[in-house]
Symmetry: C2
Subunit: 647 residues, 2 copies
């Protein structure tokens, strides 16, 4: 797909965007404000721009007079970029754009890093977990009537130097027919030991030559969503991927409510069955999608937080939610997938990622493995933000970790008009610093219904930096705009008027919402601070930030630094790995080296119970400001704010 260059006038802000992008999204990326109230649906008509050079597709509307359309005016939210353009923001939309210019920054999201199978091989980290060997066995006679399995094993020993094999009962059940189906030509599937002292397990025997087909499945068992991938163990490719909501959601949104349910009579069994139903749905989907044969599947590697893991394994998670927060186990033995209720062959093993503690679970360990922090030279901060935020800091020499309850603000929860990042959620925002008119963009470009986490961060950061919100999170009551008003018990900013929304009410951002966000970001920032304090280091020493989880994919890094959620550093040093849990599960599926290292890594990860760490509360209270009580921790922001003050 081709890219196109756009110059936004009058300030000649340049950006390159892919073919098919709308002008309003291009403006957002470039940090150019255009008033827009309807989320991108084209009904408010405020986002008119003049196409001075080049042509666009669409963008005409009854909101524009035929004359204006003839002149080249288009609605920015409806006009699609198909070639290079010069776009002028009309003065009524941008006002004194020179002011805007100083405060708007282009949107910066983290560099995305994906797992690379070849890199694994290059770094010597690839140790094949599964071997398939094709055998042409001699036919039995009265003089040579070894048992079928002995025939196979002797041959493997003699011709393939395979020793110390453990044989599964399921293989013995299959072997008489498998051997005789294709004249004693069979393929043996060998699962290699993780440690040298271990035994190779013979898990399957198939008629004929199936050595070209060897697959595994990686799964992320999230509190909200369950993802699965089919992985080709030969090429390293992902052949199919599918995600679905964890059926347990009906029994509570977060881990605590799941634990409460599990404590009821029959509750554990129920939650176990429900998550298995979702897992089986995902398995069925990806197996069908990839067209693989169940017989060619060897392992299913699963990663999840400690509560999800215990429910998956049908272990009562009761003590996880009670001080002193003790999980039943953090290392789980390999189990037959079928015994757990998975609809796969007898021979398939379920391998469950180890955890560190009740609140730093296998999903985080998987992320640490997937992101390679345990091998990193640089001091790295790994952050997985959801309702709970997990923090890992360290490098190849040491790792410290902690979990904190951020509350649901980052997922749009607990806000007056909060919602998940679904259709109609305001996900992007800018504001005209003169008129205080907003530019709102919603998921799906429809009229707004509410605010999601990324929108919230961008709003609060933007408003804080131009002085609409002060460092306590309160609105400036002196501004001349009807958008800031005293609402139902708290001051609020009207993002969209009733008639512009889908909900027949004004959509607003309230001071209570801002307080929630400050508490959430404060919990995370102080978690990082506390971990660093405990190991005798400072935030300034962090050289690399890795974001995991849905959150990291959309957050504007500069904005996250403005509110003090992330420490201030070059956005180029922030990496986004997406679903770290799934990535780690995939890596463990692909190479035994990771499975070997992981146990060592979990032992290396020092867990801090923040509630039991003296400095945490102090750090937390200090972080309940925008960006922080100690503004010196954010020197670039401090400089910008001083420039603004002195203006």
């Amino acid at each position: 797909m081709s890219n196109h260059k756009i110059v936004f006038l009058p300030h000649e802000t340049k950006i390159t965007v892919p073919d098919g992008e709308t002008i309003i999204h291009a403006a957002l990326e470039a940090g150019v404000h255009i008033n827009a109230s309807c989320g991108g649906e084209g009904v408010c008509g405020k986002c008119r721009v003049l196409i001075e050079d080049g042509t666009v597709e669409g963008g005409t509307s009854e909101k524009l007079s035929p004359e204006d359309q003839d002149k080249g005016y288009r609605l920015a939210c409806q006009a699609v970029v198909k070639n290079d353009l010069a776009v002028r923001i009309p003065v009524e939309s941008s006002m004194d754009a020179s002011v805007l210019r100083r405060h708007m920054t282009p949107r910066k999201t983290a560099h995305i890093r994906e797992m690379n199978f070849d890199e694994l091989k290059e770094k010597g980290l690839f140790v094949a977990p599964v071997g398939k060997i094709f055998l042409q066995l001699p036919e039995p006679t009265l003089q040579d009537n070894l048992p079928d399995i002995t025939r196979l094993i002797s041959y493997l020993k003699a011709k393939h130097d395979e020793h110390r094999l453990d044989v599964a009962l399921s293989v013995i059940r299959k072997i008489p027919d498998a051997m005789r189906e294709k004249d004693f030509e069979v393929t043996a599937t060998l699962v290699r030991p993780v440690r040298d002292v271990g035994k190779t397990r013979l898990i399957n025997v198939q008629p004929g030559d199936t050595t070209g087909r060897s697959f595994a499945i990686a799964m992320d068992i999230g509190t909200t969503t369950i993802y699965g991938q089919v992985i080709d163990l030969i090429s390293g490719d992902v052949l199919a991927e599918y995600g679905d909501f964890n059926g347990q959601i009906s029994y509570g949104e977060d881990v605590i409510s799941r634990i409460v349910y599990a404590e009821k009579p029959g509750g554990l069994q129920r939650l176990h069955e429900v998550v298995m139903n979702t897992i089986n749905k995902v398995l069925d989907k990806i197996i069908k999608q990839s067209g693989i044969d169940h017989e060619d599947l060897s392992t299913i590697t699963l990663a999840g937080n400690t509560t999800m893991t215990q429910l998956l394994l049908k272990i009562n998670p009761r003590s996880i939610r009670r001080s002193p927060y003790v999980p039943a186990a953090t290392l789980y033995p390999p189990t037959r997938a079928k015994d757990l209720g998975m609809a796969v062959g007898d021979h398939v093993s379920a391998l469950v990622y180890p955890a560190v503690s009740s609140y730093v679970g296998g999903d985080i360990v998987a992320g640490v493995m997937g992101a390679g922090i345990y091998r990193a030279e640089k001091l790295t901060l790994y952050l997985d933000v959801g309702t709970n935020a997990e923090i890992v800091i360290g490098n190849k020499d040491w790792l410290a970790c902690a979990a904190c309850s951020a509350g649901p603000a980052f997922e749009g929860g607990g806000l007056k008009y909060g919602m998940r990042a679904e259709k109609g959620a305001i996900e992007d925002f800018s504001i005209d610093p003169i008129t205080y008119e907003p530019m709102i963009i919603t998921v799906g470009n429809v009229r707004p219904k509410g605010i999601c986490g990324s929108g919230l961060i961008t709003m609060v950061a933007t408003m804080f930096e131009i002085g609409i919100i002060n460092n306590l999170g309160k609105f400036n009551r002196d501004l001349e705009t009807e958008r800031i008003r005293e609402g139902d018990g708290a001051y609020e900013y009207v993002l969209a008027w009733k008639e512009e929304t889908q909900i027949d009410r004004d959509v607003t951002l309230t001071e209570i919402d801002i307080e929630n966000l400050i508490r959430a970001k404060g919990a995370i920032y102080s978690g990082c601070m506390t971990l660093l304090t405990e190991v005798g280091m400072s935030l300034q020493e962090i050289e690399h930030i890795i974001l995991a989880g849905g959150f990291g994919s959309y957050v504007d890094l500069e904005k996250a630094m403005v509110i003090g959620l992330l420490p201030e550093m070059d956005p180029a040093k922030v990496t986004f790995i997406g679903n770290g849990s799934l990535m780690g599960a995939r890596m463990s599926s692909l190479t035994n080296r990771i499975r070997k290292d992981v146990v060592e890594v979990t032992h290396k990860m020092t867990n801090f119970e923040l509630s039991d760490t003296a400095s945490y509360m102090d750090n937390y209270i200090a972080a309940l400001f925008l960006p922080h009580t100690d503004i010196d921790q954010f020197p670039k922001l401090k400089a910008r704010l001083e420039t603004r003050k002195n203006r």
Copy 2:
């Protein structure tokens, strides 16, 4: 119970019998003939004897005149020994008893050997398979919030020097509740590795101190019957035992018909379920009988022939019955008992005895282990006779084995009036060499219905030795008795006349029955001969015979040697171990040493497929005589026969 001495007159044959024995049984033991036709029910009135000294209980009858009763006559089958006696056999019953004397020998059964736990210990063969350790764990705090299982394992390491533990998922499921039920006082159950390189498995954790209770179960999975024992692993005692018919009997009497059924669609699944039903019935019975708690049970060790084992493990036995007779496997991995369908706890392992070949199964290997042949200095012949006869010959240096199809004659099958050794079966027999009148004793002392295996052997041996049957198994047609007659297509001997039986027909022994017996004993004897030939030895070198199986418990050894079923040797050198399969299973339950040795033993046991061994058919044909074509193999019998001929 007290014993009493009896002197039988006129020949002053002496015997000591336990209190409560009947006189007719005492006579049988002593080798004294008394005519008797009704099996011991007291209705024929033929077995009148004169009590010359001492008194008996019962034995009066309307078959005796009041005068005779006053004189001291009693019916031998009804008179119970209560003190020392002198008993005269009336001349009309014994005729020229001096002749009898020369040919009747006292009944000799094998010396019974039972397993001895203390002996195991003395010989250094006791290596405890299960350890239970009571632990008083420190309670978790925020400063010490290790996962439950880690707390347990660390403590086991630190305080009990237990390393390299494998943890079962079922333990992780139990541990949160178990630890908290009795203030962190728990008992850990550790299953020790069979080999030094193996890992100890932590299979259970129970609240409080349960170290005094540790149990295992041993089972013999027979084609006909399934036996189970609960074993106290601390004392070595058998706490309960129960046997029941294998429910698979409805699907065929022998292994071949079971295999045929298993090959039908759904047949394998059905037979597996049916045997599991019987197993669960036996388990339920012995667990209840012994009053043990399921939680204190660690292992179930099962031994059975190869077909029974494959059906138990749900492995299709198809190729077992087809040349070249290949089983799927002879070594079976430990399996969770519950996965096989046994109604026991998640933590209980099922350990299945390894086999040698399709027809020398785990039951025989268990017998070899139980009888200790693999440790013996003496050259030993181990014989387990049923429909199939399994033969093992060897000592601590080498072991050779084979199986042969004896046919059902030893179990009373295939005979005109054959039956199992159930009520009404003629199990013992003697004959008056002058009148050819029989003395028949039935199981349950009721009127006869048919002939069982032991009765058949005794009849044929007795008749052969006094010349009623010749060495081809044919009746002497010249004898003056109406009992020998040409029956329905074959000559036969009338054991009991119609009016004396329960079946309203004469019960007879036919020449066809004798032929069946000769073929059966010929198969076994030639099997032994062939094995010895293959290893370059002779029957005369055998120093010890061990009989296993139901057969060995009742067979009259001298008679078995007369027909050429067993080689001629001192009956004192024959040992009966009963259910060798169950004994071996019990030993493996008690000590890991046996489980370690058994694999080596199976590798040592050289299996001969008789059908593929050239000398077998020659040996077989030579054995189709009474006792054998080569009478020199039976020197004592030869001498007795010559004495008779010369008389």
